[in-house]
């Protein structure tokens, strides 16, 4: 079952073309990894899926992106609601300078949940599913910035989970973390993929191989920035790549 599908997706920063004719079908409740060398459009593509690129002036997307069959670039899309459904975890852990509780409660609050008891339930549930509850339950009032980076990133995941999205986009979520914290996030992704569709951008080939179900390989060449070269089950892409360029990349011959 496809959660997200794109058809002939092109993207431009001003005159600079950044994505070239992306056609992909991202399966529901699976982890899809986007790999490729720097500047190949992975992050740009990821940010097209919740229209986060809209906030950058003079950008333009062409083509179609369907979420559950609905074109999210159609004029009647409510972008705010779209971003609730398609949550995002960023490269650097970026909790608000507030308490652990208030960080997780932010989303539910802006969506109109004010009851103290219900908020407490959502916060606990979200922190549990982010694997952080046992580490912070004794002091939910502590400043989020006092947590370790790995904990902060899991807090950011809890913050996303708290708004009950359908898709979670992760933009190199482990690049600022040490290997142990990275493994924790990967375990967490695995657990979350039972409920959520996860799309992760990663520079780390082992991470893609370890932690994803499907892998998309992107690449730029001289004329066309941001092409999708190959997409398939992770095991296939890594062991039997169909495209020579994919094979070169994963065997470390360039990139």
């Amino acid at each position: 079952m496809d959660k997200i599908r794109t058809e002939h997706l092109y993207f431009y920063y001003g005159r600079k073309q950044a994505l070239w004719d992306i056609n992909i079908a991202i399966p529901e409740r699976r982890i899809t990894a986007l790999i490729g060398p720097s500047g190949c459009g992975k992050s740009t593509f990821l940010r097209c899926l919740n229209r986060m690129n809209d906030t950058i002036p003079r950008t333009r997307a062409e083509g179609r992106v369907y979420l559950d069959g609905q074109d999210i670039y159609s004029p009647d899309t409510n972008v705010v609601e779209l971003r609730r459904r398609v949550g995002m975890v960023f490269q650097r852990p970026n909790p608000f300078p507030a308490s652990v509780f208030d960080n997780v409660a932010f989303g539910p609050r802006v969506l109109g949940l004010y009851s103290r008891a219900e908020l407490a339930d959502v916060v606990e549930e979200s922190l549990r599913s982010a694997g952080l509850w046992d580490e912070v339950k004794d002091n939910l009032r502590q400043d989020a910035l006092s947590l370790s980076l790995g904990q902060q990133q899991r807090l950011c995941i809890a913050r996303v989970v708290a708004v009950k999205p359908e898709v979670i986009l992760m933009d190199e979520p482990c690049s600022a973390l040490d290997p142990i914290a990275t493994l924790k996030i990967e375990d967490l992704m695995r657990a979350l993929s039972k409920e959520y569709t996860i799309v992760i951008v990663t520079h780390n080939m082992q991470q893609a191989a370890r932690a994803s179900d499907f892998t998309a390989f992107m690449l730029s060449d001289a004329e066309r920035t941001g092409q999708l070269i190959e997409f398939g089950p992770t095991a296939d892409v890594f062991t039997r790549p169909r495209d020579k360029r994919t094979e070169d990349y994963i065997t470390g011959r360039f990139g």
Binding site: N50, T55, R83, F96, P97, F106, V110
Partner: protein
Amino acid sequence: MRNRFVAQRVGFALLTLAALVVVIPILTIVATIFIRGAAAINWEFLTAMPRDGMRAGGIFPAIVGTIVLTLGTAIVAIPLGVGGAIYLSEYARDTWLTRSIRLAIINLAGIPSVVYGLFGLGLFVLLMGFGTSIVAGSLTLAIMTLPVIISTAEEALRAVPTEFRTVSASLGGTRWQGIRYIVLPQALPGIITGVILGLLRAAGETAPILFTVAAFYLPRLPRSPLDQTMALPYHLYVVSTQVPGMPAKIQFGTALVLLALVLSLNIGATMIRSYFRRRRQW
């Protein structure tokens, strides 16, 4: 090899000297006012009407006048100023129009206060018909204060990392919710600083109120917003230069009260600011 340490010492000495040159005159002025003004301060001075052509009695109406004018200024200038700053920093696109608005605001901050006074006289007192009144004076002071509030508040808002707005949007928050719950609380200490700086200036100014509200001698409290009032800065000017045979202790006493008022406002602001810094949540 030895040279750079010598250079460092000389550098520090010069910097310390510069700091002293700035601080010592201020301390001297403040100390003089405190010492010579303290003799005038008593219950009557603070709470009674002036008598005997202001040569005796108290300065109560001037104190009340300044407080009322500052409050009036705050009521007008805070919403307008902070609102304008939010618009400029969060909503306005970067066009020639917003750029020229910003330039105009910076220039407005540099206009001499007497020009604001004349502007207030023309617009609020005469054209809009408020007469010489607290309303006209407060509006004039508010106009003068706005550039300070807008530019410091805008700067405080811009200092909040864009990332927080992005994260708020990524969690399904509307733009306004991001501003209201994340950006504003973060910027609040800076905004408060700007507001207080502006209000302090308003509280101490003479020229803008000269033509718009200040009464030379009015030994009673204002009865309505359309009434005139005495005010401390103008009263200080009057007792210092306009009335022959004025006892020096009344002059210093008035200066001390004005100084104390401004100082307590300042301390209050610092306390509010550090409270919000510590709170840092919504």
